[in-house]
C-alpha cells in the first residue's frame, strides 16, 4: 500500500535527516517505526504526508508510492483526499477550537458529511473523557486529553493509511495499552493500514505486525514484531526493552556509537 524507496531528505538544504530509507506498509497491516531521538522518524512521516516544505525540508532522492502511484510532490491537502492522514507529533490540536470542532476538522475532506455526527459519537465511546469536554476549548484540556483528541481527530478522517507520530506521548501507561487496543480495533473495523512511530516500543510492537528500527536517517533493522521482541540483543540495544542490569551496557554502547 505504501512503499518508500531509498528516500533522502534534507532540511534547509544542508541538514541531512534521511539517508536513503526504504520501508513498506502492506494493506491492512500495522507497522511500527522505532528508533532513538533524531533518527528521522517524524521526518519520514512528514515526507509521506507532503508536509516537509512547511519545515524547510525537501526530498532530494528516492520516491514514495501509495497504492502504486508516485506521490512525492503532491500537496498535503490532495494527499489527505487520497487517504493519507498524519496525526502529527506533539498533539497539534487547534487550541482555540472546541473539542467537537477539532474532531470535525479531522473529517474536513470527507464526502459523507451526514455520517460525521455519528462518528464523533463513536470517538466519544473510545474516549469517554472527550464527551464530557466536548464544548471546551481544546487549549484548556490536559496534555493527555489533548493527545486523545489528536488521535480521535485522526480517526475521524477515516483514512486508508493512518500515520501516527508518538500517540502515547503524555498518556498514563495504563491508558496507553487501552488506546493501542482501540487503535487496533478501529483499524480492523475500518480496514485501515497504520504506520506508527513510538518511543514506547513494547506497546507499539504488541499491536504491530511488522517493525522497522531507524538510526541516523537509515533503517538499521526490520522484521516481524514478534521476532524483534524475541531478539534480546535488538530489543536491548536499540529499544531499551530489557531487564535492569542491561542499562549500563546500553549506555556504554551508545557512547561508543556517538564517538564513532
Amino acid at each position: 500500500m505504501l512503499r518508500i524507496n531509498n528516500l533522502e531528505v534534507v532540511y534547509q538544504k544542508i541538514i541531512i535527516a534521511l539517508r536513503g530509507i526504504s520501508l513498506d506498509v502492506p494493506e491492512g497491516k500495522i507497522v511500527a517505526l522505532l528508533g532513538s531521538n533524531g533518527a528521522g522518524k517524524s521526518t519520514t512521516l512528514k515526507a509521506v504526508s507532503g508536509l516537509l516544505a512547511g519545515d524547510g525540508g525537501q526530498i532530494i532522492d528516492g520516491s514514495i508510492e501509495f497504492q502504486g502511484e508516485v506521490i512525492d510532490g503532491i500537496t498535503p491537502d490532495a494527499l489527505v483526499r487520497k487517504g493519507i492522514f498524519l496525526s502529527m507529533e506533539g498533539r497539534r490540536i487547534f487550541k482555540g477550537l472546541t473539542v467537537e470542532e477539532n474532531l470535525t476538522a479531522g473529517a474536513y475532506t470527507r464526502k459523507d458529511r451526514l455520517n460525521i455526527k455519528g462518528d464523533i459519537e463513536k470517538i466519544y465511546e473510545y474516549f469517554p473523557k472527550l464527551k464530557v469536554l466536548n464544548n471546551r476549548k481544546a487549549g484548556f484540556l490536559s496534555g493527555g486529553e489533548q493527545q486523545m483528541l489528536a488521535i480521535g481527530r485522526g480517526l475521524m478522517a477515516k483514512p486508508k493509511l493512518l500515520l501516527l507520530d508518538e500517540p502515547s506521548l503524555g498518556i498514563a501507561p495504563l491508558l496507553v495499552k487501552e488506546i493501542f487496543q482501540n487503535i487496533k480495533k478501529i483499524k480492523q473495523e475500518e480496514g485501515m493500514s497504520i504506520l506508527v512511530v513510538e518511543q514506547n516500543a513494547n506497546v507499539a510492537l504488541s499491536i504491530a505486525d511488522y517493525g522497522y528500527i531507524m538510526e541516523n536517517g537509515r533503517v538499521v533493522m526490520h522484521g516481524e514484531s514478534a521476532e524483534i521482541l524475541a531478539n534480546k540483543d535488538i530489543s536491548e540495544h536499540y529499544l531499551g526493552i530489557g531487564n535492569e542490569n542491561s542499562g549500563k551496557e546500553k549506555a556504554f554502547r551508545r557512547r561508543q556509537r556517538v564517538v564513532w
Binding site: 500537496t75 502529527m88 487547534f94 474536513y108 487549549g139
Partner: protein
C-alpha cells in the same frame, strides 16, 4: 442632552462600520500574521465603482452594489494571488511592505481614474429624517447600522458553523496542523483576502452614502488600526467592540472638544486612546497571547 445622544448615535453607526472593515483586517492577520496596510484603498475602491455604475450607467443601487462586491472579491483574490502568494515563504514583514506598496499603487489609480473632488451618491435611502424622542436620525444612518448588524451576524454564523469558517479558524490556529487535516492554506488565504476586500467595499459604500466619496476616505484604513489594536489584533469580537468604542469616542471628541480647540482632534483621538490602552493592556482589550497550557 439631545446633542449628546446625537453624537452617540453618529458614533455608534460610524463605529459599526469601522468594526466591519476591521473584521477583514483581523481576519487576514489571524490567518497569515500579515497586516494589510492597503485596507484603506480597499475601502475607497468600492464606493467609487458603485457610484460610477449608478451615475454613468444609471444602474439601480442594489445591482450596482452587487457588481461592486463582485469586483471587490476579484480585487481581493487578485491581490492575494499576485502580491501575497509569491511571498508565502518570505518573512511576514515582506508581505506588510508589499501591502504598503500596493496601497500607494491603488491610491494613485484612484486619483488617476476619479480625480480628487468629493462626489456624492444620488439619494439611495429615504431622505426624510426620523425623529426618535427628539433625536434626529437620518435614514442613511439607520440603514447603515442595520446593514452592518446583519452582516456581522451572518459572518459570525459563517465562521462558527461553515466548513470554510472552520478552516479559516484552524489555519489561524496552527497552519501546518491545518494542512495535515487536508485544509488548503492557499484557499484559506484567498478566502480571507476576498472577505476583507468585500467588507471594506461595503464599509466604503456606506460611508460614501453618509459623507460623500473622496480619496481621503482611505484614511479609514488608518483609523481601523487603532480599532484592531484596541480590540486585540487577533480578536474578531474585539474588532467589533473596538469599532464601536473608537466610533463613539471619535464623535464625542468631534462634538465636544473640537469646537474648543478649533478642530482636528477628531482624527487624533483614536490614536491617543490606543496609546493609553496599550500602556495598560499590551495585548489590547480582547487580544490573547494564545491559550497556553503546558
Amino acid at each position: 442632552m439631545i446633542f449628546f445622544f446625537q453624537m452617540l448615535i453618529n458614533g455608534i453607526v460610524v463605529g459599526s462600520i469601522y468594526g466591519l472593515v476591521a473584521l477583514g483586517f483581523v481576519l487576514i492577520y489571524r490567518a497569515s500574521g500579515a497586516l494589510n496596510l492597503a485596507n484603506g484603498e480597499f475601502v475607497i475602491f468600492g464606493p467609487y465603482i458603485c457610484l460610477m455604475l449608478m451615475t454613468a450607467l444609471q444602474v439601480p443601487f442594489l445591482v450596482a452594489l452587487l457588481i461592486t462586491l463582485i469586483f471587490s472579491a476579484i480585487l481581493g483574490l487578485a491581490v492575494e494571488r499576485i502580491v501575497v502568494r509569491p511571498l508565502q515563504n518570505a518573512p511576514v514583514i515582506s508581505v506588510i511592505m508589499a501591502t504598503i506598496g500596493l496601497s500607494s499603487l491603488l491610491a494613485g489609480a484612484v486619483h488617476m481614474i476619479w480625480g480628487h473632488s468629493t462626489k456624492t451618491f444620488p439619494p439611495v435611502f429615504p431622505q426624510t429624517p426620523l425623529n426618535i424622542g427628539g433625536i434626529i436620525v437620518t435614514p442613511v444612518y439607520l440603514w447603515s447600522f442595520i446593514v452592518v448588524l446583519v452582516l456581522l451576524i451572518i459572518f459570525s454564523i459563517f465562521f462558527k458553523y461553515s466548513k470554510i469558517g472552520l478552516a479559516i479558524r484552524a489555519v489561524a490556529d496552527d497552519q501546518q496542523a491545518a494542512s495535515s487535516m487536508g485544509m488548503s492554506v492557499k484557499f484559506v488565504y484567498a478566502a480571507t483576502w476576498t472577505i476583507a476586500a468585500i467588507v471594506a467595499a461595503i464599509g466604503g459604500v456606506l460611508i460614501g452614502n453618509i459623507n460623500g466619496v473622496n480619496p481621503t476616505m482611505a484614511s479609514i484604513g488608518l483609523t481601523v488600526l487603532p480599532v484592531v489594536i484596541l480590540g486585540g489584533l487577533d480578536s474578531v469580537i474585539g474588532a467589533i467592540i473596538g469599532g464601536f468604542a473608537i466610533g463613539i469616542l471619535q464623535n464625542m471628541a468631534g462634538g465636544y472638544l473640537d469646537p474648543l480647540v478649533g478642530g482636528g482632534l477628531k482624527d487624533v483621538v483614536p490614536f491617543i486612546i490606543v496609546l493609553l490602552i496599550l500602556m495598560l493592556r499590551p495585548h489590547g482589550l480582547f487580544g490573547s497571547r494564545g491559550i497556553e497550557r503546558v
